[in-house]
Amino acid sequence: MGAGVRGAGGAVERMIDVKHLTKAYGSFVAVKDVSFRAERGQILGFLGPNGAGKTTTMRIITGFMPATAGTVEIDGLDIFENSLEARRRIGYLPENPPLYLDMRVEAYLRFVAKLRGVKRGEIEAALDHALKTTGLTDMAHRICGQLSKGYRQRVGLAQALIHDPPVMVLDEPTIGLDPRQIHEIRDLIRGLAGGRTIVLSTHILPEVSQICDKVVIINDGRVALEEMVKDIPEGTSLEEVFLHAIAREGHAEGVSAEEALEEVGAGHSA
């Protein structure tokens, strides 16, 4: 594997460790032997065509559903065995922001804060911080159901970060937004990083090269590529890497960008 255990900087702390994950729905196998990892402070871009198994993988990582086989460790805690402790460390934004549409933004965020175990005395500060970070301070009294799609997405991000989790899992955070909103959400995510580990799924490729440290491409339930963004050679677009990675078949293990590109190059010269 190309990526190995190189940290974003200095000491390596493995915050997300996905090992040989398989998920079958009846006879349909959505995820096949997926393994990857992310270290503290990394933003990992999780790429793949629609139906590749991104959402399923994220649902397993967050403990929403169990894997058929394989394990997930969050900060060294098994999401299944040590579920409550592991879940405490995760902020999760599902594909559709999980809002109670009849609640006001602040009441909703207070509820999530309590649910995620923020201490009584710290709730107001956490609420304040989440509202500020996501630019929702002026919207705090609005009812969630009356917010536009972009603002709902922000409330979704606010609920994911309100308990200041070391790990955030964001399922297509920019989908369905207009270009200006996409830009804002991206800035926001970049601002969230710091000491946090963020897994973010998308099928917008420039998004990955702009904000991610590492990219994992998944295709047809398998990891097709795991690579640090900085290790992708200058002058090659992620699009080429992506298209090539998903064109390869029958690879259970990820390939490195160099390998993938060698073949892209070969293809061009032929």
Partner: protein, 257 residues
């Protein structure tokens, strides 16, 4: 425990910002009022009739508890069979449809705490409903003197009955993301528990005893007559416990599949 109250608090607020709960409450009280009116009219006519016939000993046997409150409580129990499924149908189904189920199940909260919280909130709302229905005994107490103890037992029975409806409703809601399916199945189960002893009345033996034991009105009637028997209270609480246990398993099963 804190998680349970967090969820219960949010749910209870939810009841009061949604029209469904108000509709349920209004239908319950309005229909109750109509039944109460009908029962009082009948009672009044009967009293006049007996007086005309000049039989004071029959008159002294006529009693507001058995002639008004007892049948009223039975009518209210039927209204509850119809409206309670509407109250509980959204509890889990709506969370699944809206995607907030993912928020609940990925939060560091046990499924038992989720179920308990949702039940507590529904129970509190039910308590409000049953408490409001005390308007009828209060009116009687102004104009007559019904026995307070008997009425208390009857209303306790109504509350316990409503709690078992709530828990069955939570269970069916946890099985689906479609509110209509949740409501209809809970309605079906409740009706079945109302009529379950019907075929048994012709037969006998153990089966008869069992079906009779499972029948909700059987236990409810004892209480509306003013008798608080521990075995009836235990029966209702067991229905609640069983349904909530099944609900917890059903929610938890999302983690097995």
């Amino acid at each position: 425990m804190r998680n349970t109250f967090t969820i219960a608090g949010k749910e209870l607020t939810g009841y009061f910002v949604q029209p469904v709960a108000y509709v349920v409450l209004t239908v319950f009280i309005l229909l109750g009022g109509w039944f109460f009116f009908a029962m009082l009219r009948q009672f009044d006519e009967m009293v006049q009739l007996v007086q005309m016939m000049g039989r004071p000993e029959t008159l002294s046997q006529m009693n507001l508890n058995t002639r008004v409150i007892d049948p009223l409580l039975h009518d209210l129990s039927i209204v509850l069979v119809i409206v309670m499924p509407a109250l509980t149908m959204r509890v889990f189904a709506e969370e699944k449809r809206a995607g907030t189920y993912e928020l609940l199940l990925t939060a560091p909260v046990r499924t038992g705490e989720i179920v308990a919280g949702k039940f507590l909130a529904a129970a509190a709302f039910t308590l409000v409903m049953v408490a409001l229905a005390w308007i009828f005994p209060l009116i009687l107490m102004v104009f007559g003197n019904p026995e307070l103890g008997v009425m208390f037992a009857g209303y306790l029975g109504l509350f316990l009955l409503a709690l078992s409806f709530v828990s069955v409703g939570l269970f069916t809601s946890s099985l689906t993301q479609n509110q209509i399916i949740a409501a209809i199945s809970s309605f079906g189960i409740l009706i079945l528990l109302f009529v379950i002893s019907w075929p048994a009345e012709a037969g006998g033996g153990v089966v008869w005893a069992l079906l009779k034991y499972l029948s909700l009105p059987e236990h409810f009637s004892t209480m509306t007559r003013g008798v608080i028997d521990t075995s009836d209270v235990v029966f209702f609480l067991s229905v609640v416990a069983t349904a909530l246990f099944l609900t917890q398993r059903s929610v938890e099963s999302a983690r097995w599949r």
